[in-house]
């Protein structure tokens, strides 16, 4: 027995049970991802408590317009992938595949903007680990701020890259009708998590400049 290219494994009673188990597995994985980033958000909170001025100066150094553009891009991409699921649910594989591929394309645009931001930091002498000319006159704690910034946004960018790979694969499989709806929904769950993490990274690194 198979459905949308997914075979029923011997240890499951039905496709429904198998799909439920896969979905539950994804949710547990997402919870573990939340804890991975949660540890870094905790570091941010503790270091900001210790060096509030350095963090405010560091946030002001980031380009809020670029960060906001990236936020709008990721939200739009999450919307497109749910539209893709809606279309696939109605049997429209072609439009669904295009919507899922568009989601991955927006992910690429996000990474290009993030790369541009990193390039701007490097040109200003801001490198991870407190290396670079910027830190000679920067307030104490600036090295910690920017190291954490590169770590958290870099780890997030890796997640975006993995998510894009999953979405491109999903788009191809959906176009061939070789992926079940549950499979596409699980792939989309991962992308939404990437969106959720950025929704918190954005105010912490682009908006909270202090008074």
């Amino acid at each position: 027995m198979s459905e949308g290219g997914t075979k029923l494994e011997a240890h499951f009673e039905s496709m429904e049970r198998q799909a439920d188990a896969a979905r539950f597995g994804m949710w547990v994985f997402l919870a573990s991802e939340a804890l991975l980033f949660g540890a870094l958000f905790t570091l941010y909170a503790c270091y900001r408590e210790k060096w509030p001025h350095a963090f405010e100066v560091g946030v002001a150094k980031n380009d809020a317009l670029l960060g906001t553009t990236n936020t709008l891009l990721l939200i739009t991409s999450s919307f497109l992938v749910v539209l893709g699921i809606d279309r696939y649910r109605r049997g429209d594989a072609l439009v669904a595949a295009r919507l899922v591929a568009s989601t991955a394309a927006i992910g690429l645009l996000f990474l290009l903007i993030k790369s541009h931001e990193y390039a701007m930091h490097f040109s200003e002498g801001i490198f991870p680990g407190g290396h670079g000319a910027y830190f000679a006159d920067a307030p104490a704690g600036s090295a910690v701020f920017f190291t954490l910034y590169f770590t958290m946004t870099g780890l997030h960018a890796i997640h975006v890259t993995v998510g894009m790979g999953v979405l491109v694969y999903s788009a191809i499989q959906v176009r061939r009708r070789r992926m079940s709806l549950h499979g596409l929904e699980i792939a989309a769950l991962y992308w939404h998590l990437v969106d959720c993490i950025w929704i918190f990274l954005w105010p912490l690194y682009y908006l909270a400049r202090g008074s």
């Binding site: 949660g38 909170a45 503790c46 408590e49 739009t76 539209l83 649910r89 009708r177």
Partner: protein
């Protein structure tokens, strides 16, 4: 744009219906865009000590919208909801106790 009313009756290739319609997804998207613009605007109001709580409260609202309607927690099974809630709860515990430790040191 479909109004989404048919989504509740449309069956998936593998037979699963959804109670979350396309119309709900469009409204959720609109809410996320509005909340993003509100958060961006609020960052220029110089809210002082309220700056971070306001920004984080709006972020929490946005993540709730994504979770409930894009990730379908609204109609998810209780075991999947439990995994999601446990993840959030554990992160909050980690944050609360670690920050409380830093703030209370030396008192």
């Amino acid at each position: 744009m479909n109004d989404g009313s048919e989504a509740s009756t449309a069956l998936a290739p593998d037979g699963s219906p959804s109670r979350i319609t396309t119309g709900t997804h469009v409204k959720s998207f609109a809410a996320l865009i509005v909340l993003t613009l509100v958060s961006f605007g609020a960052s220029y109001l110089h809210l002082g000590v309220f700056e971070m709580p306001v920004a984080l409260a709006i972020a929490a609202m946005k993540v709730s919208v994504v979770g409930l309607f894009f990730m379908s927690l609204f109609e998810e099974t209780s075991s999947n909801r439990l995994a999601a809630v446990a993840g959030v709860l554990f992160v909050l515990m980690l944050l609360t106790f670690a920050v409380a430790d830093i703030v209370m040191r030396g008192r």
